[in-house]
């Protein structure tokens, strides 16, 4: 397998974690988003969506991090990243989507670029925007995992899964932009538990081959 990704892309980091949790080897194919390599013709030949991450598995090209992780879970079931029961799976998917559909899309590189280049926002307004969505969005996650009987050492039970793969990279982004995190103690407890595992620690942005 080849993973086209970028060290600082949090959607890429989600897939790196999942691959590591599964113990799957892959070639790391760096795509430099800040240098806009994802918009180059050479990358268009690889990816119709021109987004990272993209996973190549044989002849197949897979996009969208949550879809890739579900695919990995279906094709390499051990260890499972989703619970065995439908309600548990729904809870884990919803938690992942609370980050991937409510927080991260507002803070990715092309949106920040639009704020600065098209809307002419200053650095302060841009950072306020970033923190607003991270801080309010993580509060939604906190409300759903704090005191919930299914929450364990990780978002769902005592083994890491899809929700943790998506949550942890968001915390890295939050820390990079100095977001407030003291209002989400359960989120941070789960984050710390994850970071004790090699699958999360050794795939983090600063550990990537293309890290700057």
């Amino acid at each position: 397998m080849q993973l086209y990704n970028y060290f600082r892309s949090s959607a890429s980091y989600r897939v790196r974690i999942a691959l590591a949790l599964k113990g799957l080897a892959y070639d790391y194919m760096p795509v430099h988003l800040v240098k806009r390599e994802h918009q180059a013709e050479s990358y268009a030949a690889v990816s119709a969506s021109r987004l990272v991450p993209l996973l190549r598995d044989g002849d197949a090209s897979l996009t969208q991090s949550m879809a890739i992780i579900e695919y990995l879970d279906e094709t390499h079931p051990q260890p499972p990243l989703l619970p065995a029961d439908a309600l548990g799976r729904a809870r884990v998917r919803a938690l992942a989507q609370d980050v991937a559909c409510e927080i991260h899309p507002l803070n990715n590189l092309r949106v920040l670029r639009y704020l600065v280049h098209d809307l002419k926002l200053g650095e302060d307004d841009k950072n306020r925007w970033y923190r607003h969505w991270v801080e309010t969005g993580l509060e939604v996650v906190e409300r759903q995992i704090a005191d919930h009987p299914a929450t364990g050492r990780f978002c769902h039970g005592d083994t890491p899964g899809l929700a943790d793969c998506v949550l942890v990279p968001q915390i890295f982004n939050a820390q990079r932009f100095d977001c407030r995190l003291d209002h989400v103690p359960t989120v941070m407890r789960v984050f710390e538990a994850c970071m004790q595992l090699d699958a999360f620690d050794k795939t983090q942005p600063s550990a990537c081959p293309d890290a700057e």
Copy 2:
């Protein structure tokens, strides 16, 4: 089952389509987003995330539209909304996420409110923002379904599925905000095919009990 939702919420509409495709009956529980009913204490008792849609199934509360649809597909498998093969499922999930993670989050009500109230954007800049993400985002979808061998009458094959449930409500939003759509002919062909089905037509915003 009870579906807490709002006629104009496109994430709600996704779930209404899925329920209709499955032929499942439910109580329609309106939550008026513009009147901020989702932020009222009475709704907080129903939903920890305070978002719509929320599906109650017995004692369980489910959130996040794509997670709800996958749950419905697992608990009521006929007709299936996801393909039988892992690669097909990955493709359909990725298409759904191309809308749900890349387009819709930038254009929902709370984001538009932030643009206007916090960033003091005028109507023109707000509309330009809206159209930018819809038009560029749908172009990504178009590139992935045009000329793809798995595309059929619908996004994937000749039966409607998860990707169609997510795509169609986005087109309603696009039309409401006068977005350009002539650059996405395959998307629009699929949209027209969907709208010929009762499951899409009879659950559309204007057909809802709380429509204004």
